[in-house]
Amino acid sequence: MKLYEYLGKELFSQYDIPVPRSKLVESADQAGQVVGELGEVVIKSQVLSGKRGKAGGIGFASDFAEAQKEAARILDLKIDGLATEKLLIEEKIEIEQELYLAITIDGSAHRPVVLASLDGGMDVEDVAENRMIRWPVDVTLGMQGYMAREICRRMGVTGNLQKELVNFLPKLYRMFRDQDAELAEINPLALTPDGLVAADAKVTIDDDALYRHQELPRITEKTALELKAEKLDLAYVELEGDIAVMANGAGITMATLDMVQHYGGEPANFLDFGGGADLEKTAQSLELLLGTDPKVLLINIFGGITRCDVVAEAFVRVKENKGIDLPVSFRLVGTNESEGRTILEKVGIKTFTSMDEAVRHAVVLTGTV
């Protein structure tokens, strides 16, 4: 779960990590009023997009009128297709130097990794490899003072900035760990006359650990349908095409989409209804897909824990209760395959045993090829 900048900064404050003084507002007038309190300000759209700056989502103001005008402009903007609902108004800070600092998870080392660079302000991909220090963290040790000092040494940081960073890094790591973050990125991390200040905050919390963070608000980037699927415990992603795809397993579902595209079709979605789903869940998955108004329905079942007869029964139930009036391409193999096939044949549905044939048939059914 990605956190809005202001929420990330609220977390930072809990861990004694300095952030600029700020106010969160929702209208241009409110933005104007804040200038009186904070003096010269930066006005920042609170959207979950990495393109905020380039898209004009940040403005500056030093009086009421300016702030009002800039805020209004940003509230009208679409950034990466997203509207701005909240603005973070921050005091303008005096920046002597801009650093890059992040902690993320290195899956191949199964460890957190600290990324630190003196080239703050740049995108992480644009920083030269030798200018980006990577420090893999042993989770049994955490981030200790000597590690922070060593990171500084490798960055070429000395003196006061070193002292600041050695104090700063363990706090950021503690936040990262305690909050089950998978990313905590500060870019730029600003050196000001008062010390280091987190000028931005990109924090992502591990979805699988949200259950231990009831205090965090729930933020979603999902569509209404994706949310509905989430409630049903289905892995569902909306795509642009017209062939609705349903399969059991993330890898096989991806492979099905790839094959649809391989044969010239366009998948309407990714829907993995998982292994061993019961009749109810399978039926709900089907109903969800029908609600997206696709041209063709492609079902790809390789039954391991998943029982073919259960899938077939679910299909028949939905067909009888709600009607399935679009063309269907159905592949069915694995556990209880013949029982499933019999059930479907009774309602006039032919099944394939080959995934390849089923996908090609689905593409043909769209009539676009």
Partner: protein, 291 residues
């Protein structure tokens, strides 16, 4: 010579009294796995599929000197159970649960490293030494002995491909599911090394997907250290950036982990990348014939 496990490997089932645990205990026994005991706190003294149940893993190990364990329990309890298994001295831990918190997974891996133990998963179907023993939830019938080692990040897609091999009368030595999460214990490289050393394995199939850099790292390893032929299939070619495709690791983020980068790295390393699952068996046949 089987790798990781063989027909003598003594296996515990942690969470044996649950629905999944008891069902798969039966399936594993049917495959030939030596299930010596089960663990379910508070349910010691019961028996599941003829397997005695204990209150703690220590107790089960005391009675049966087990070497491996497979874990079935809701994700929030996986860390405690995995630590118990490691602390009790088990050396192969198969973590079936999905949605294990990342930080829990990292702590499990750190402790496993200290204990010199192998963790498979989480969010894996497990591993099988074909014809000998399986510690996992894969359907029994596709896993028949033969000359091909298979290693995969995903489950059903792996069965699909192993199914294609089986149809073509190509069996497997060992099939390992790495798990679909971002932090997992075994990686392609670990298993590729084992396959390279295993005299019974003549060719290898790796089933990868978008996200992360495991396939790129595997490619570098293959280029430098593998002599056996490797065939790959990669899922997620059509996936748009920024959308997580079911697996926690299957996402193209910040321009990394794309299909193209993986396919290119593997091709450069001499790996044939199949464009469809059904294209794997012919490639394997060619590879085996070329030997």
């Amino acid at each position: 010579m089987p790798i990781y496990i063989d027909q003598n490997t003594r296996v515990l089932v942690q969470g044996i009294t649950g629905k999944q645990g008891s069902f798969h205990t039966g399936q594993m026994i049917a495959y030939g796995t030596k299930i010596v005991g089960g663990v379910s706190p508070g349910k010691g003294g019961q028996s599941v599929e003829g397997v005695p149940v204990y209150n703690s893993t220590f107790e089960a190990v005391e009675h049966h000197s087990a070497e491996a364990s497979i874990l079935f329990m809701p994700a929030p309890f996986a860390k405690d159970a995995a630590f118990e298994a490691l602390d009790a001295g088990l050396k192969i831990i198969v973590l079936i649960p999905e949605s294990v918190p990342l930080h829990d997974a990292m702590e499990i891996m750190a402790y496993a490293r200290q204990k010199n133990a192998v963790v498979v998963g989480p969010n894996t179907f497990g591993l099988v030494s074909s014809g000998n023993s399986k510690i996992g939830i894969m359907p029994n019938r596709y896993f028949v002995p033969g000359p091909v080692g298979v290693v995969s990040r995903s489950g059903t897609l792996c069965y699909e491909i192993v199914g294609h091999l089986t149809e073509n009368e190509i069996g497997t030595t060992t099939v390992v599911g790495l798990g679909g999460d971002r932090v997992v214990g075994l990686h392609f490289i670990d298993v590729l090394k084992k396959f390279e050393e295993d005299p019974a394995t003549e060719a290898v199939v790796m089933v990868g997907e978008i996200g992360g850099s495991a396939e790129e790292e595997a490619a570098a390893h293959i280029a430098s250290s593998m002599t056996k032929p490797v065939i790959a299939y990669l899922a997620g070619k059509s996936a748009p950036p920024g959308k997580r495709m079911g697996h926690a690791g299957a996402i193209i983020e910040r321009g990394r982990g794309t299909f193209e980068s993986k396919a290119e790295a593997l091709s450069k390393a001499g790996v044939k990348v199949a464009d469809l699952p059904m294209a794997v068996p012919p490639l394997i046949k060619t590879a085996l014939a070329d030997k």
